[in-house]
């Protein structure tokens, strides 16, 4: 399968909840705060000037605690929620200018969504749930079934085709949800806290599965989570939301090494940094050549292991081609951790 070419551009997006959102959009754009809007006009500011450029074929994580607006934001991408102001350009087309039919078509063929509480239809078997999107689109039943069976096998549910959702565990139900989304073969995959309802171990399994699938599929994935570990593990790019505004965006290295403010600082305090910071992020100029070698993409946690196994205090960093591009010392690693 080819890598997705579809990028998502969100520009100046505002969402105000209340009786007359349009009336207050100007004031908010001029800088009225969420508190003032709430106290003076009893409207709720859901999203405040969101600008994100989501690259094609990558996993974009949107992270925030409950009430930060992350679920509202993902629902703007397929327009389950109408924005108050702004632009959402997907693959060169503005989603907000689509007519009802165009929008329906876009939802059928352009995006697929995975839900926090699975949202499987209880009266349908696994295979009938998985082929739901294809059925809605009008794909011939036999072809839909073949596609569905392929994806059921791919997510590890072979043999469960004719079970009903309530006969499956939470993790298995979400595999069905994922297979349903993947069957649609869309370039964009929207995952709304898809793993938040799962047990930690199953969650890790599902993350691994998603990363494996993504290597193969290269879709543009928007992944919502409130779990920083999940965000750091999955995200090629991460956006952190708070009270409807973006606090910081960047990759996992940026966020861990250059937190934008105290809020992010507090967030990342308890994270196992060695597991997510790459050697490349703490690289120094190389001085000697007779040192153990570590790849630039390696996580610090693993580099420490290499160093202690070799009883060395420094290592040379090599790139994918095997050339030495710098060095890393145990002392720097320890100071970062």
């Amino acid at each position: 399968m080819t890598k997705s070419q579809t990028s998502i551009e969100i520009r100046n997006l505002y969402k105000i909840f209340g009786a007359h959102p349009e009336a207050h959009v100007e004031a908010v754009r001029r800088g009225m705060s969420k508190e003032e809007l709430g106290a003076r006009h009893s409207h709720i500011l859901g999203l405040n000037d969101i600008n994100i450029s989501m690259p094609a074929g990558k996993i974009q994580v949107i992270m925030g605690l409950s009430g930060s607006g992350k679920s509202t934001l993902i629902r703007h991408i397929n327009r389950l929620i109408e924005p108050t102001w702004g632009e959402i350009v997907i693959g060169g087309q503005n989603v907000l200018e689509m007519s009802e039919t165009e929008l329906r078509d876009f939802r059928r063929t352009g995006t697929a969504m995975v839900f926090q509480k699975f949202a499987l239809l209880p009266h349908r078997t696994v295979i009938d749930n998985v082929t739901f999107g294809l059925e809605v689109r009008g794909v011939d039943a036999a072809a839909a079934r073949a596609t569905g069976l392929r994806w059921i096998e791919r997510v590890g549910l072979k043999g469960f085709e004719n079970r009903y959702p309530n006969e499956l565990s939470g993790g298995m139900q979400q595999r069905v949800g994922l297979a349903r989304a993947l069957s649609n073969d869309t370039s964009i995959l929207l995952m709304d806290e898809a793993y938040s309802a799962l047990d930690p171990l199953i969650r890790t399994d599902m993350q691994t599965m998603l990363l494996d699938l993504q290597k193969e599929l290269g879709k543009t994935i928007v992944f919502i989570t409130h779990d920083l570990d999940e965000a750091l593990r999955l995200g090629d790019q991460i956006v952190i939301l708070r009270d409807g505004s973006i606090v910081q965006q960047g990759n996992s290295q940026d966020i861990l090494l250059n937190p934008a403010d105290d809020y992010i600082q507090r967030f990342i305090k308890d994270v196992n940094r060695g597991r997510y910071i790459r050697v490349a992020s703490v690289i120094e100029p190389a001085s000697e050549s007779a040192l153990p070698q570590v790849p630039a993409e390696m996580m610090l946690e693993d580099a420490v292991k290499v160093l202690s196994d070799a009883a060395a205090s420094a290592a040379n960093v090599i790139d994918a081609a095997g050339r030495i591009i710098g060095a890393v010392t145990l002392r720097t690693i320890m100071s970062v951790l």
Partner: protein, 310 residues
Amino acid sequence: MFPDPLEHAANAGERMDWLLKFPQLDPDWLLTAKRAIDGSLKALTRSYGQSIEDFFYPLLQVLIFFENVMANAPWPLIVIAAGALAWFASRRWAEVAGVVATLAVIGLLGLWVDSMKTISLVLSATIFSVAIGIPLGIVMNRYRRLGAGMKGALDVMQTMPPFVYLIPVVMLLGIGRVPGFIAVVIYAVPPIIRLTDLGIRLVDKEMLEAADAFGCSPSQKLWKVQMPLAIPTVMAGINQTIMMALGMVVIASMIGVQGLGLNVLQAIANQYFTQGIFNGFAIVGIAIIFDRISQAYGRRLQKHRGASHD
């Protein structure tokens, strides 16, 4: 003006009169109005009675056909059919045994033919009520403003004493099967309309979101998501409708509907206690059969809806 007893009692004067006696429209005016309405209804009946009857003639034939099928079929066939239905709905032998035993007792008491007449009217009224009630429930759900109006009409239909709307039905159609059928349907159709609307409204918001996210058109959303998920509630409505129809069939005996209800009516008129109690029990027995079968079927439909085995 009629002489007012209060006026004589409260001889103290006419000052308090307005407080004790509720201001009433002029009785002469009321009388004229009543006469005018009744008169025009009668005129309507006289001029259109025949065409109204012609209009309902096909319905009459269907009702007679149903009744003949039920009443003239060999009794073992009916018992077997009822038993098979109970098995299909519940997959439990205890239910089948209960249904067969109830029918046997009804037959032994000599109420077989009357019971079949009652059952055939209840069944045809239920089928008709479901056929018009489910679409109306969907309409009520989809068009909120119209739905609010319909809700008012349903409230009136459900609280109006049934005897009252027997009157216009009889005036227009006389007595017999068709007016009885219409009265039963009017009485039995509200629950199915209401519960179809309710069932659709109770569908999980997340399911609707999923339907939208996958690009369902409104009709795909209705038939693939909302209606299937509303089925348990709709089944509860069908069960209510059957019970109301059975209740109304007894009352409709006053306008010439045959069957168990007529026997009860005779028993009241002549103070035949035993006849009353036998027929009463037969009605209870039929009600239990209908109730068990429809509920068991509703439960089986919900087999996969329980909580996850997580």
